[in-house]
Amino acid sequence: MLLEPTLFLDGVNLVTGPGSGSGKTTFARAVILAIHRAGYTVAAVSVGVEGMVGPRRGCMAGRGRGACWGAADASTGAAAKDSASGPPVVARGRVSAVAGDVFVTPEAYLASDLCEPEILDLVPGASAVGRLAIARARRDGDIVLAGPEDNEHLAWIVRRILEERWAKTIIVDGSLNRITQAAALPDARLFYAVRAERSNYTVMSRAMKYFLHLSNLPRHSNAGAGQPERDDEKSYRVSGPLTQYVIDTIPPGTETIIVRDFSKVFLDESEFLRAERKYRIEVAEKLRFGGFAVSLKGVRKGEFAEIMGADVSGHVVSFDVCAGGQ
């Protein structure tokens, strides 16, 4: 079943996940497909480059509207071979765009993008794969998605797309385990992709509970930027990441710790719970959590839902974006 597109329309959506193979790219592409099938266009940015493609056109991957969201095997995360008219290339980065879609792509691959791209702007500086262009598809066709590795340039791209009104809906296929990107993007909805297997599903369910707990941390009442380190003797504002070292050096008498947002919490669950027993932990800014994107391997949906509990499973937007049969 396809995703509900209204969950993602008119805003910035950041997809991240705890590790390689967590299904964030599969989910991001499923979101793009759902939006396309609802008749909307989208802007898509990846962090880094998703695989490589041949420099020449003519590969078999070119398909029209509503085609696949990538040649990768969703079950294994492995990249498929693409029969381009050059040397064999990995095509994991290919995404089907429709006319009007906006995307970020390396200059070197603009000419191999099949969508007749119109160059809208150039991202400042150069990435590991050369200059990055923001482009718009003038017809349906495959593209290579890319993007900068750092938050600053990612935020620049998103800001440009919104300011110029090139797109209303933006999907960012984010970095692994880099929730800090959410804080860099204006009012982004954060989706967290998790892959649960027989060997790790209890660990994963705990990680999801912890993530949800962090995302629900209360907002501090005096949360404006540029506040002093201490609002009063009982509260302590942490300007950077909240680490165990910071916890150990909190001034005596502190009752409330204020972190900028939950992405700045660099504590594992046990450290955090220990800190929470001693202090009330609040955030200056709330990040918008959109939900979990779960992909299951060797685990039944009901079984995983039960171990997660109703609270967490209520935040799952998809258990399998590839599900297509009864």
Partner: protein
Amino acid sequence: MRRDVVCSASAWNFAQMEDVWRHFKPQTPYGRDRVAEKTVYVEPDVLASLYDDVEAFGDFVERLGPDRSRLDKISWHLGRIPRLPVLWGEATTDGQRQSVSGPKDKTYESAVDIFLYKKFLANYSKLCDLVDAKTRDHFALEFKSGDILSLLSLGGSDAETFYISEKYDSRLLEIRNSIAEIGRKIEAKRTRAAETVKETLGIDFSGRDFVTVPRATGLELLKRDDLNSKWHLYIEVNDEYSFIARLVPDSEMLMLESERSKLYETERIIEDAVIADLSERLKAESALVEAYVGIVSRFDLAKSRFELGKKYNLRRPAFVAGDRGRGQEERGIRMVVRQGIFIPLCAECGKMGTKYTPLDIALNRNAAVIFGSNMGGKTVVLKSLLFFQLMAQTGLGVPAASYVTTLFSAIDYVGDRPDTAAKGLSSFGFEVRALSDIVEKAASRTCLVAFDEFAQTTSSREAEALLSSVVSFFSRAQKPCLALFATHFQGLARDTAALYFRMAGLDVAAARRYFGELADSAGAYSLAERIKNINTIMRYYVVPEDAEKGAADADGSDALEVASLLGLDEKILAAARAYRCGAGRGNR
């Protein structure tokens, strides 16, 4: 001349130039390049041209009157000027294009390069339209590339964007129509196949390349022998609970895709030819474009200098000839500042709620010594003078009612430097080393040097001897120079060729009032309050050394009073006063 050639990093830092420099914000990449270079100019004609540019921009703003919409548009277009790629020529070491008209070794550039040229030309032409005739004439802001811009505008849905339009080559229209037609056929076939599979087998692809189906469904499908031949379905195991179903293309679809691939290839060849042609056209325009880069950079810098000038009330300085005498060699140096404001300190005073005293001083000899007690402000005078000079020689203008000065080809600083720690030399060692370098420079260049508490780490007698000698040396330097000394050593030999000043120091009456209050309050003042009070009773202006003292002590030193104000133990202070009056002098 670049900053590191004229002005040492230590002088730049001592003058706290970054406090202002970071607000100098041109909008174009070319303007930002100049800012990053931190150029300190020594050529009077170059500086005159910079100040003329700022005035020309200011006149333009004045002619615009209260309506700022045109200025907003100018800012908008300047902010969109991109850095042009190096085409047809070699990049110089500073990243600038040496020449865009040299021999080219590439057959064509990329679409991104063409895009950048289009974006540059589109915004540059708008800028030319937005300024009035006088400003256009002053900056030579003329746009003569209408033809190439019109050509580039054929490809793009707005003034800046770019794609390779069919208008560049009519064959593209036919090819793209064919690609679209094949795309429709492929899409129709895929949709039909997917719908049939959904209706018959219950598998919903919904545009996806593959889907997962429950294990039971997968096993049922595997029993069919027409899965591939009829339904073009491929089934494989996903995990113990599901299978993956994939639609594979039939032979007709493969044929269509193959045909489309060939069209893509042909399209690419034509597009490459279009880019090569556009690139050639741009090459013919290269001399003009190169000129545009210089003009827009100049205009951008004038605008940002003007804005900085408005922010800080900066004025154009007057440069005197120095040793560039007309016919007869001029040996003298002049530096006259009236109501000069050292912006970094003035801002700090504003934050602390204390009063800032502007600087008035006139220097017309090669060496000037400023005496003063601790916290008396003599170091600030040195900082201020270096700051004013750098503001003047970077073309920003000076925050003063008036500033007359000489152009210096070397600006340096000798004194405490945080960057000299742990390099194998003591502070004194570094000072002597720096002094030696400057002495060498002074033989061939017009130097401005600030010596802040030179030799303060050595014994006072030796320090005074050395300092007296250095003052004397610079007073009679081979080339005109200005050596400024701030010191608390009063025992310097006075050289008739040098100037001697002192900070006015404590306001005695106010200090006595404060001491009285202090006694009453029994030490209730915090350190911050004490510092603030010192600021209110200290007179931070420069007077000739022989001016009537009126300061707290006859020796001209306020150090003990300052120590008292800072809360030093009264017994220690009393003993110190006794020593100073002679009771403690002699061997112990």
